[in-house]
């Protein structure tokens, strides 16, 4: 199930409709636009940190109408701060109507974790793949924090795993303030804020001096529960 480059097609049925939605992920730390390396931020405990890497999988996008019908896109997208084009997703062939919410998954579902060699977003060369315990890394956040006791004061959160009880797949449901009308004449741009600060708080405040490396199931679900709420609607244009 590779991601489509040109623009995703709905998963089911024929798609004569021409509605288009462009989703743009804007990366923030609290209310500041994320910048790698140079800008220091503070976590909830007042510990300073910089970010050196941030990428994550999203997939299984559902666009929902008020009447309960929805359009599904099965593709996966690897959103990577380092590659600006990866932060834009184009959805095509959306049935005409008024949409009230978007739902998607952070991560890769169990079927696609077990399907062998894949290409596109799920190609293992994207360095989001665990070879020793097969599965995709759903979210990578790396950086430096003076409080970290890891070598070089780095922190590394590589969060993945699809098997209960350590599953780090999380669902995200975002309601729009105003319904978005979509038709072949109305293409809309949806800006979603992805807040790195949320990965480090709610429900659990991450103390870099105690937790600076998560690279397998140990503590992974804690971070997953934190990243579940890192998305919010920024604007609809």
């Amino acid at each position: 199930m590779a991601s489509a480059v040109a623009g995703a097609m709905p998963f089911t049925g024929k798609h004569p409709d021409q509605g288009k939605l462009t989703i743009i992920f804007d990366h923030y730390v609290n209310d500041k636009i994320l910048q790698f390396d140079t800008v220091a931020y503070n976590n909830e405990l007042g510990q300073s940190f910089t970010v050196t890497k941030f990428k994550y999988y999203i997939g299984n996008i559902h666009l929902k109408k008020a009447n309960g019908t929805e359009t599904t896109y099965k593709d996966y997208y690897l959103v990577n701060e380092e590659e600006p084009s990866s932060k834009t997703i184009n959805l095509n062939h959306i049935p005409t109507g008024s949409y009230t919410a978007i739902e998607f998954m952070i991560g890769v579902d169990s079927v696609d974790n077990c399907s062998g060699a894949q290409s596109g977003a799920l190609d293992p060369i994207n360095a989001m793949f665990w070879a020793w315990n097969t599965g995709y890394i759903f979210m990578k956040l790396e950086g430096k924090a003076p409080a970290s006791t890891s070598p070089g004061n780095i922190f590394e959160f590589h969060i993945g795993g699809y098997k209960p009880p350590y599953s780090c797949i999380r669902k995200v449901l975002l309601y729009f303030d105003q319904p978005i009308p979509l038709s072949d004449t109305a293409t809309k741009e949806l800006h979603i804020k992805t807040d790195v600060a949320e990965i480090l708080k709610t429900p659990v405040n991450i103390d870099f001096s105690k937790l600076s490396s998560v690279t397998d199931f140990h503590n992974a679900t804690t971070i997953a529960d934190n990243y579940m709420d890192m998305f919010s609607i920024l604007s609809i244009r």
Partner: protein, 344 residues
């Protein structure tokens, strides 16, 4: 005289050339998947990876090519040697680049499509992605898939072989992995003396028959016929080696319950795949049976099946070994399809 020699040498060259070509030639018939009689349905069915001679030949070349390692010094076949049923002959622990030593014994490769998981801890869930693990492991090939692709793309022969095999101009990880899966997936061992005995084409000596009977009574609850493994993980009671600090299955599932469990290995071609156990601690079959046949050896949390073996007499051990040697499958071990193509 000189003329005769020249003619003779031409004839010889022609003959060698001819035999070499047939020996390494892979035909559509060579890549037919034949499920041996009595075998269950395989887990890996070559779905989305249709068997073809060209893809198999590409997989064979990749398997034997050190280009897959960081410094191009070791190939899959460096540790998975044909003479050792694709295990590592006489090596307790795996060897990687720069003389690095790994934590586990190299498993023999055979009947892989009947495994639901791979590696001693079952951490790998699909035959196609298995090679990513040794390729990227720092103490094995220590290479990245992206760099392997770069190196293959620089090689004009590979570029054309990928084009022929997959009918496209790009070399990507999916095609590398699928080609390797075709080669390793067709490694099927099902023609040992045991198999021929079962199908009535061969006879067993008294000792071999006794061994089979003992085996069924004491070993087959884990090493189930016809694959000689039940694809589960068990703690066989060998004391953990603190220098290796290997919790096996527990490292994968995160359940304490699974600590120190390892995959029950198939015993096919066990004669060739020594030394034994996940850390290669036992040099020969006699040592294995000396261990298994004395429950006082077992560490805490040993699987209950181990205690069902009970004390083994010297005669029991002799008979069991006689039987285990019938699992050597020369048809498989000398199957020309799996020979090193770089020797042609």
């Amino acid at each position: 005289m000189k003329k005769a020699l020249i003619i003779l040498s031409i004839v010889c060259t022609a003959l060698v050339g001819f035999t070499t070509n047939t020996y390494f030639l892979i035909t559509p018939k060579d890549v037919e998947l034949k499920i041996p009689k009595g075998f269950p349905k395989p887990y890996y069915k070559f779905k989305n990876n249709k068997l073809s001679p060209e893809i198999f030949v590409l997989g064979r070349k990749l398997f034997y090519d050190p280009i897959l390692s960081r410094d191009s010094t070791i190939s899959c076949a460096s540790c998975h040697q044909r003479i050792a049923a694709f295990g590592h002959f006489d090596h307790p622990l795996s060897h990687g680049i720069n003389g690095l030593i790994g934590k586990r014994n190299v498993p023999a490769l055979q009947n892989l499509i009947w495994q639901d998981t791979y590696m001693w801890d079952g951490g790998v869930n699909n035959l196609e992605v298995q090679p990513v693990s040794p390729i990227t492991n720092p103490v094995e090939m220590n290479e990245s898939i992206a760099h392997v692709i770069e190196k293959l793309k620089r090689n004009p022969t590979y570029a054309s072989e990928f084009r022929i095999a997959f009918n496209d101009t790009s070399i990507n990880s999916e095609h590398i992995l699928k080609a390797l899966a075709q080669f390793t997936g067709l490694m099927i061992s099902a023609d040992s003396r045991y198999d021929r005995f079962i199908t009535g084409q061969d006879t067993f000596s008294t000792s071999e028959k006794n061994g089979l009977e003992l085996f069924r009574d004491k070993c087959a609850s884990c090493h189930a016929e016809p694959l000689f493994t039940d694809n589960t993980y068990r703690n066989n009671g060998i004391k953990p080696d603190s220098s290796l600090d290997d919790k096996g299955r527990g490292n994968i599932t995160g359940r304490q319950f699974d600590d120190y469990k390892f995959k029950v290995p198939s015993l096919r071609n066990v004669e060739r795949s020594y030394p034994y156990m996940h850390d290669g601690r036992f040099r020969n079959l006699k040592d294995v049976l000396n261990y298994y046949g004395d429950p006082s050896n077992f560490a805490p949390n040993t699987a209950k099946e181990m205690y069902e073996i009970g004390k083994l007499s010297e005669q029991d051990k002799k008979d069991l070994i006689a039987f285990l040697l019938t699992l050597t499958d020369k048809t498989f071990l000398y199957d020309r399809r799996f020979a090193d193509p770089f020797t042609q």
